[in-house]
Symmetry: C2
Subunit: 386 residues, 2 copies
């Protein structure tokens, strides 16, 4: 396998972007990444999208998005793994370049979620759960993560304050991210007093509904060197899966798919979790960040909440998590999220994070952890300074 | 890149399979392929599906289908390119094995299309066209292919009889295929007198709505040899794209995406089109097979219809097309079709085609051409006797 790197990144506007269609959002991110990398062509496109069909009545995204960005003819396909679709697009592009099939490939992600009603968006998102064994019986994602939160609280004594501090930390980081949908700080008291969605989760425990796209250029080290732009290496890429239905898991206080993916990716990169300086993780709900911090092996089961209270995962802490603001503050256009995580790792490892969001002391190794649904699929990438 | 081969195949029942869910159909095909290949594990799964969201309210297929077939934890993702999703799954698996990332990978496809009404199925299928510039204005797929047929007739004098003979030939082959949804012969008069759908296309010019799944095991030559089962090599794999909207094409009497993909795949295999002994092509409508036969370079523009009348593409002809019965007779569960094409090529090249459907004189080289929508994406594979 060839060494693979990332040499340029791009983001569209994120938020309730009513004046742009899905194809326009994607094109904004794609052309920004192409410009950032300085590439004059692409050999392929992998686009992550969870449900073009349910959100905007458009499948067949590889062809339509290639054409709209001016690259008619380009080999292109969409990949999907619910909210992990973006990370899967990065992985597919990584394998394509590593194989020698293609030299310069775009991995992108897009979701246009606000063209439908809230009820329809809830239905579309619920297709990431088990339709027959969860959704038919009334489960929605806030409900599923609320069950995980209650189980974690019961088993480990995780507190309301720990959940709140995830949101507070991520909004503090997101307030410094020009791409964030909600770039403002919030307080722990504000989280606890916000509208209750599914006990114990309040609305400020939840990531938002977002329109947005992100793109990265994946290529070989040789190409990256010739371009003369900053680049980082992808040294590990792995996927894990588990039962899609939460009730069928061995243990609902951990995300086994994330554990599998992290262990495989670290092994590929010849690293241990403590060699990783920071992580972008899938905080679709505050409890998710706590559970993931433990599932990836950074903290013992039941210990992540205390670490968050102790500011261990803050920007200036020992293991910054979600310096971008995470899904919570930056937004969560489900198909784009996994790609945007890689965008942030690229910026942090090349010293380009904006507005005082840069992690101190020149981090050398970063990771992304992206997951689908209540954690039935997870994709992890380890990236390093070249 | 490593040499890649196919060592086992499986199909579910195809048709209006009301007693099986999508996950059950997929599991039937997947376990059949695993048994056929004799593998004791998989390293990955790529599943092609056009719209789990619109047809059955279920996305996140990699995780749910891995779990349901008893392989919780398996690295898995769905790939999508409308009706070319199955061929894209084969390509993704091919690249994964060629790269050295994985040794034994399943490429599968599934679609469960009859759980929704005909109107809802038509809407779901129309998401393969340009929602904003075609579907909003009333276009459906029979209408789009009818326009291609009229254009082809006007430019080349293509006749009603030529269209009909595509359907007659494919049903003759499909009558010998135990997996076919409509395994019976039809007559040219029967096609011409069947219900008119979109002039000049009658219902017997159209492929049906189908529930079904197909799976193949993709691996290295070393693994295939150790298994001691018949295997074939994949020697070329390529994708082409074009505008998704038919009206924006340079020429609507040809499928440029298929031309691009075929030329690239043949080049990779170091073959010319006349080195290929037979092909499974995407006959979603009778006119599609005529246009594709020309687009892949086998016949000059405007000459495929005459070749079909002259039985050149029949099972005993010089270039058999759709020995399986094609989409027309075998059925068209959109995400599974591209994988089922590879199943047929495997059977033909290993001498295992059932019921007198075997192409005479031991064919050595076969190809598949799978496409999305009205041809905005196309994926081609060249396969050879090992």
């Amino acid at each position: 396998m060839r060494d693979v790197c990332i040499v340029g990144v791009g983001m569209s506007k994120w938020g309730e972007v009513w004046r742009k269609s899905m194809r326009e959002l994607h094109t904004d991110a794609a052309l920004a990444a192409i410009k950032n990398a300085g590439v004059d062509h692409l050999d392929g496109l992998y686009v992550g999208c969870m449900s073009g069909g349910l959100f905007v009545g458009q499948e067949h995204l590889g062809a339509i998005l290639s054409d709209y960005m001016g690259m008619r003819g380009l080999p292109a396909m969409r990949v999907e793994s619910a909210c992990a679709s973006g990370g899967m697009a990065v992985r597919a592009a990584y394998i394509d370049v590593a194989s020698g099939m293609s030299d310069i490939v775009m991995a992108s992600g897009v979701e246009k979620m606000t063209d439908v009603s809230g009820d329809d968006a809830t239905y579309a998102l619920a297709t990431a759960a088990d339709q027959e064994y969860e959704v038919f019986h009334g489960a929605t994602f806030p409900g599923l993560y609320a069950m995980m939160a209650h189980a974690h609280m019961a088993k480990y004594g995780t507190t309301r304050e720990m959940l709140s501090m995830v949101a507070v930390k991520n909004h503090r980081n997101g307030a410094r991210n020009p791409s964030a949908q909600y770039p403002f700080e919030i307080t722990a008291e504000g989280v606890a007093k916000s509208v209750l969605i599914a006990d114990p989760l309040h609305i400020l425990d939840c990531s938002p509904i977002t329109d947005g796209a992100a793109a990265v250029i994946v290529t070989t080290v040789d190409v990256a060197k010739k371009l003369g732009k900053p680049y980082i290496k992808i040294t590990g890429s792995a996927v894990g899966t588990d039962t899609i239905a939460l009730a069928q898991r061995e243990d609902m206080t951990t995300i086994k798919a994330a554990t599998i993916a992290t262990q495989k990716a670290l092994k590929a990169a010849d690293k241990k979790i403590d060699d990783v300086n920071f992580a972008e993780v899938h905080d679709c709900f505050t409890i998710a960040e706590i559970v993931v911090a433990e599932s990836i092996g950074k903290y013992e089961p039941g210990k992540a909440g205390q670490a968050i209270l102790a500011c261990d995962t803050s920007l200036e802490g020992r293991f910054p998590m979600n310096p971008s603001g995470g899904l919570k503050s930056k937004g969560h256009p489900v198909g784009a999220t996994g790609v945007a995580q890689v965008v942030e790792v690229y910026k942090q490892l090349t010293g380009q994070a904006e507005n005082g969001r840069q992690i101190p002391n020149n981090p050398k190794v970063g990771m992304t952890q992206n997951m689908g649904g209540s954690g039935a699929s997870s994709v992890v990438h380890i990236m390093e300074v070249a």
